[in-house]
Symmetry: C2
Subunit: 424 residues, 2 copies
């Protein structure tokens, strides 16, 4: 099998005729497939549903001397704070257990910067002329959407195999208008890159010109290995504290991909100083979060060992799906030399970089053949991928037989887009 | 028994000696009682806990063709929207079902005014020099805390027996800086007043100078009768629409006092125009709310009839508690003429207006004798009751035997405060 770049024009034309025929054949099947979002599949949901009726009798609702069914304990159930503290390697008093969505916590953290300012801000950010924000990309589209919604000026920072390009970051934070940065440090969305120890050290020791710079550390995949064993990972609060930066960072996590998407428990972790400040603001916003659901999680997950055991069961479902995606890419795309990709051990995505200029067209062809993919460009600020190259593959939702078909459509669509481009 | 105002000085002194002795006796018991917050009692929580294991098998999680355990349906589960639509007398498409706290929804609605503006705002409120806000008082302290947190200039509007003083409201809204108003229209917090049809008509037909005026309609006690039958109540969306004001209002409700405080389902209702606008903002903030909990509520409550039947069971627990409070006041306070109060048929409070100048001292005496009451003044903007007179009694949490004791402490403390004042 030849790389497309090495084919003659007539060879490309022959290949196109063949690929087009195969594409038309797939399209005729009127498929309805979806690899757009990191949604767990039904097998995962069925597996964890055993948590749902774990609370049965009236006495089950007592925990830490608290009746979890009533108002109170803004910062969350102590046992739940302890569970997440163990997971994240921080102290329970640094953990705030909230509702069901870490995205909402992140949004609210940013919103409060605008309406009230940070613990050490001179004024609310709404009163600033400009807020610039560092966006390692490819990154998580919902992070960028938050930044955009608040009118931030997003600055793209390229990802390296060790995390964000720190030379560039260290340069950019000299600008006092740069107020923060998004990070998904372990199994980054979408690349699945694990930030290296050196990258983390450089992030934790940053000296931004803006004294109220906010490091948004979205540890969404902190225990989410699908190949191999749990990978220990530094606690960013402790790392930042080493350099006097303990107030710079908010860390986020949730059980959306441990128990239930949008119905789990979300948390943030921060310094005592930050905690005191945000609790004063939060007590105006909410009396207390759903401690019943927090208790369900405590009883079901128990501790870090319990979580890691459950994640092994998720991996048994997810691993084969990721294997399927990587096998298709290795078999169908690699020999043709039209894309490259990371081979992650955890997270929820495979990030594919096609030859420049064909991501959008590949997306369109997939769509036309009944396969919904994450929008091409979505992984970049403002939805603009300068190379029109990055595509996020999310294989978790479809059952395996559908996934095989989806990957067939995806690979054929990419090949057709590449051939059309090369022959244009 | 004589009214204190009619007693001679020596009679008052005799009375004080007697009351002081009784107070000291109570204080010596080292009680720990709480009538501070509208928290349901354990008997209510035990009663509704039957909801918690209503979802058992994997197939139970399917509703409206949706697997409630996964991401999706930002605006809530259709069946849950329909349930609240029936409760509030609106259409399901006007209802947004969210997380567990209507307070958070209210806060977020205000926060978005500041960061993004309303659907018809010229600019975000954070860019305005001044935001003034109408606060019918006595009112809900947490409403006022939100206004204060955002730096609003709160304007107190006195309550009448039919709701806010509308002559004054109609005068105040001519000021273009007045951007909104808090209302608890049915069984107002704390007075338990039901806004009259005429008050509601005048509110719905307001023509505020500020075109983006926001009516915050906190229908917290929409089905919360503890004496007598369910009282039908106008749908504020429809009322406002009659006068072309459909975009002026957001209505809020929750099941915090139907199922579980802080672990129920909260909703807002608004016009289609508002819904479209806020959904665009909300989709950035959250993927979807806890539909599992929404489904639990749908399966348990079923429909309005189901809710009203459950509220009758709550009333059977709450009614005697309110009867106890009113009996104590009638027996111990009324004859002495040192306070007046509403006699509500629903809600969670009894609002007591003492003779001027003794609410804070009564609170202090209660505290010293082991009884925590809502802070005196808390029911007014900035916590400042100009007459130092209003006190909110919240009898729902203590079991009846504790409530008897709490009311004894409360009445004795008020009598002592009155006597000290009259003899000063």
């Amino acid at each position: 099998m030849k790389k497309y770049a090495e084919m003659t024009r007539s060879e490309l034309e022959l290949e196109r005729a063949e690929v087009q025929a195969k594409y038309d054949e797939l399209k005729a099947k009127k498929l309805s497939l979806n690899m757009a979002r990191g949604k767990p599949g039904k097998a995962q949901l069925d597996m964890t549903s055993e948590m749902m009726d774990i609370l049965k009798s009236d006495s089950d609702y007592m925990c830490d001397g608290i009746d979890v069914r009533n108002y109170g304990n803004l910062e969350g159930l102590p046992s739940c704070r302890a569970l997440f503290a163990e997971l994240l390697g921080v102290k329970p008093e640094n953990v705030f257990c909230g509702g069901t969505a870490s995205l909402q916590m992140m949004y609210d953290t940013i919103a409060k910067c605008y309406t009230h300012g940070r613990v050490n801000s001179d004024k609310p950010w709404a009163k600033l002329d400009k807020v610039k924000w560092l966006c390692p990309a490819p990154g998580y589209d919902r992070h960028f959407a938050i930044s955009q919604s608040f009118g931030m000026e997003m600055i793209t920072v390229p990802m390296t195999s060790e995390g964000p390009d720190m030379d560039l970051v260290e340069e950019l934070i000299r600008d006092g208008d740069v107020r923060g940065m998004w990070c998904v440090p372990k199994y980054s969305n979408p690349d699945g890159i694990v930030y290296s120890a050196e990258t983390i050290r450089r992030i934790a020791s940053m000296k931004p010109a803006a004294k109220d710079f906010l490091l948004m550390w979205d540890n969404a995949y902190c225990v989410h290995e699908f190949f191999g064993d749990y990978l220990p990972f530094p606690d960013i609060l402790g790392e930042c504290a080493k350099y006097g930066n303990e107030d710079m960072v908010f860390e986020f996590a949730s059980t959306s991909k441990i128990t239930f998407p949008g119905a789990g428990v979300s948390v943030f972790a921060c310094s005592e100083h930050n905690m005191e400040y945000v609790k004063k603001l939060l007590t105006v916003q909410v009396i207390s979060y759903d401690k019943v659901n927090q208790l369900r999680h405590v009883r079901y997950l128990r501790d870090k060992a319990g979580v890691l055991a459950l994640m092994k069961r998720h991996a048994a479902i997810l691993g084969p799906k990721f294997r399927c995606v990587l096998d298709w890419l290795d078999r169908e795309i690699a020999p043709r030399g039209i894309a490259q990709w990371q081979k992650p051990n955890g997270g929820y995505f495979v990030s594919v970089n096609t030859m420049p200029g064909i991501a959008k067209e590949t997306w369109r062809l997939c769509k036309e053949a009944g396969l919904t993919m994450t929008g091409a460009g979505a992984t970049f600020p403002y939805g603009r991928d300068p190379k029109d190259s990055n595509m996020r593959v999310a294989p978790s939702l479809p059952p395996t037989e559908q996934l095989e078909q989806a990957m067939e459509v995806y690979c054929i669509s990419m090949r057709l887009a590449a051939l059309n481009k090369l022959l244009a």
